[in-house]
Symmetry: D2
């Protein structure tokens, strides 16, 4: 199954579950995949930045990807392959595509500055991985320090037929979605699915601006599915009501550093993964932070029963 420009809905960014000793918890990989399928996700992305990809050895990364592909044959699985060099990017891409991945996700290295450098980078990446491999642009300036103007994204999309999706997490980013969609409407840019990241902090309005869904790791992917559906159905108030109930926790989880620990802690409490362990080096939740998350969950539980965890 290859990623196509029909993609939409929710592609959760899967965390990589570890056991307490730091080894990969493959049972939890399976459970995660089952959960995503069960809650209505339309795809899944593994080995992203918040999948702790840089902490995995090559073989481990492949194992996580393959295990997910096998466990969720109904879902297209996108694999993060960002790397400091094209050799490693190509090697990982080939390996996972051969094993059934739907496509790969590529973030720009943080040394790029000018428009031409960014466009050139994606051209070279496509040359390295092969023009037949669907790829996702990750546009995440907050972490990668690379800013892509809408016109740069259009150039990448136009130059590379294999560009299959935009993981949109610019901030602020609402006008960018509007700009890209206006170009699509006036025929100056082909359609490309826009799925939003940034822990869904603006998903409510991003959907209304023309996004096709979410591509992020928030600990309630089932809520993301509901918000995307409600928004697509035009049930604006319901979508915002549900979204707003989660916003205090979304915001808390979106913090760089401790955010991933929050995510794993909640997913563990929800029974989706067995352990909250992060591989080193990784932030650990302090008791104070843990208590804050518990408090947020207890408040959320009044509005969304899914938050009722022990």
């Amino acid at each position: 199954m290859r990623l196509t420009s029909d993609a939409r809905g929710v592609f959760p960014i899967a965390p990589t579950p570890f056991r307490d000793d730091g080894s990969i918890d493959l049972e939890s990989v399976d459970r995660l995949a089952d959960f995503y399928v069960g809650c209505g996700a339309t795809g899944v992305t593994v080995l992203g930045q918040l999948g702790e990809a840089p902490k995995l050895e090559h073989a481990e990364g492949v194992e996580v990807a393959v295990r997910t592909i096998r466990r969720a044959p109904s879902l297209p699985v996108v694999v993060g392959v960002s790397a400091p060099g094209f050799a490693a990017m190509r090697a990982l891409t080939r390996e996972v595509m051969d094993r059934g991945a739907a496509g790969v996700m590529i973030a720009p290295p943080n040394t790029l500055r000018t428009d031409d450098q960014v466009v050139g980078y994606y051209r070279q990446a496509v040359e390295a991985i092969g023009a037949d491999v669907p790829f996702v642009i990750q546009d995440y300036p907050l972490t990668f320090s690379v800013q892509m103007a809408p016109a740069v994204i259009r150039r990448i999309v136009s130059e590379n037929a294999s560009c299959a999706m935009l993981k949109h997490e610019d901030w602020p980013g609402l006008e960018k979605i509007s700009a890209l969609r206006a170009w699509e409407r006036d025929g100056s840019m082909r359609h490309i699915p826009i799925l939003c990241g940034n822990n869904a902090l603006f998903l409510d309005f991003e959907m209304e601006r023309g996004a096709d869904g979410a591509n992020t790791g928030y600990c309630f992917p089932d809520m993301l599915v509901d918000v995307v559906r409600l928004s697509a159905q035009g049930k604006r108030d319901e979508a915002h009501d549900l979204f707003d109930a989660h916003l205090p926790l979304i915001r808390y989880e979106q913090q760089p550093g401790p955010g991933l620990a929050v995510r794993k802690y909640v997913m563990m409490k929800r029974g989706i993964i067995a352990h909250e362990t992060l591989r080193k080096p990784g932030a650990q939740l302090t008791p104070a932070a843990r208590a804050e998350v518990d408090y947020l969950l207890s408040r959320l539980a009044r509005k969304d029963a899914r938050a009722k965890v022990k």
Copy 2:
């Protein structure tokens, strides 16, 4: 009135109001000051980053500061004096301190990297402005790219008796507050007021970690006053209920770039300033963004009557 280490409560960051032709709207400066006094602010900061200070000529900046000082004699007025060189910083400091300012706020230039560079910078700044002028550290890595470890803040506080406040807007920043407060408790650091910025995005928990209040420009400073009060009174749930009602708008206004336009638009609708004008160069709200803010206000109005604007 000089800023002292007893400061607490809410010091709004005042926007600088302009008329449609870009000139300073002094009537609105007055109205703002009156509003702050009326809603229970305990101080006010002018000429901050979001006060469009870099767009003002020197004389204009002084005029805004002096007008505020005269109009709100009961409030300590802190003046942002960050500048690319110490000569300009000293000139502005002297001028406003002579006219009754309570202190100044200084952000580190984004070229600083090592701990010693940051500490050295504040030492030189104090030498430039005079050791008798109370100053506020602005710790805002997201905008200034300068990271100050808690130990660096402690060094600045210890070295400079005139350090009178921390404007805390690190992100993530909750553990930093806890670290500084732990040092205060164990006697290894003197007390310094911590007032929080970042458009109050974490004010709910920052108060619980030991912050003394807010020092930010959110368009409902009266709500900030209430949250700070409720939190200080230990009314945790009430504080969070009020805060959560505002969070969708807080988040929207916190966007760099359009955020300030959102703030002025809402304050204009609330009748606090006469025009929403930003000086060039400044982001303008698109019709789509304006409609989104209106929608957020209409939703907020159900929970907080202050949001009922025409």
Copy 3:
């Protein structure tokens, strides 16, 4: 006298001379101006980054500029007006243009990333200072972190008729000169003088690539004049011989931080300015560094008599 697109030769970046107490040494300002005229400079730039402009109060900056304009009426004087906001930029520009400056130099703020942001910034700057004021683009990525592709420079030049010069100090930068010159030859870009900075570290080859001269502060501006002349006359080996003799010192002076102290120390030893004082905050030469510069001068003196200083 207005800066025109005929500019060529050497526009030294003038240091700002201070007395030992930190006050401006106006006699040395005069002496510097006389020296530049005497050695064949074709213009001069004051209040640049290495003119310690950020350390001057507004009135001081104006005084230095005006003094230079009066003392060297035969030279076009360019004034650095880079500022964090357009209001201050406009104020300084108007003041110095009214007093006879030939044009202004503008560096981009280090927050700019995309091509459109850079082009937009210069558009706004021109709007602020007036379209009748000739301006110089300062392209100095090493210090300002802003990268301008050749096509971006062409856009700025095309959009703004008042763009009168490029201070080229990209690194590496030789191919950029070749690219701009190729566009000039094929008619896709109007002529613009390219004068090179970066302490002249590549001036030998920059001239051969099509540069029109130097715009930098190396402590032997008279050598720069000779190299530019020899190169223009096609005396390649002589140009390189002279250049290479100075290269060990050029390299030493090009160090960020201590470099300006080296420059002032040598200019004081040469009798061009009276004191080597930098305003605070500024690097001071250690005894070891001072001895190294003395050694470099003694070695240079064997090849260039101008380096014979006591």
Copy 4:
């Protein structure tokens, strides 16, 4: 053979030689190793930034390292293992140490800012690779944007007994060497070899400040050996004479981007490697640049016979 604190002399940074089709040229790897041994190098570093390490697949990197270790059994071989995550760093370290490497070189990721972050990073790296593996600190702010104050280096050295060398390429960096050596003399820091990088741009004075040698890739490593020897023998003028003859080319080769192409081009002309090929993505020399290098070589040949190449 393990790297010890007795290291000194010249550890060239070896380029990775490729054939025209981009495959690794193992014969040239051998020839390089022979050349280093023959010219008096005392060690060699492979898989550095300019060894195009990020462009190699894992197995290729190991192959280059092992081939060099086998071919030059008399030289300690240091292997660059910098990686975005500790898992990859550990995997490569174990593999090469098992095959006879003398130690590894680690550069800090460019996200680090505060002193504690830098020190903490090296602590975690040592935990990952094992406290028995000698490691080299690469201090290269120009490329990695991480600034290490001398006190930070001292902390790393003190905390980690396995820290065996400093690859010094801060810029400016002379005072840093003096500071570290002063601490060594007063007993507040143990001895650590300091070998200098930055294409040797300041090697002349770095040796005089107390450096132990060079650890860089300049295309005439034999010249580096001579300068280090002359300097160690106190033949100051001879050392500078030789150094200055090479400085025009050193400077030219030190350009980021095209610099590595210059290096390989000259080493090919010298017969040390068979091809000048860089793996993609890599700068190619333009005809103009090639002619400039030829000219620099022809000028150098008058003073150093080694530069006489066809």
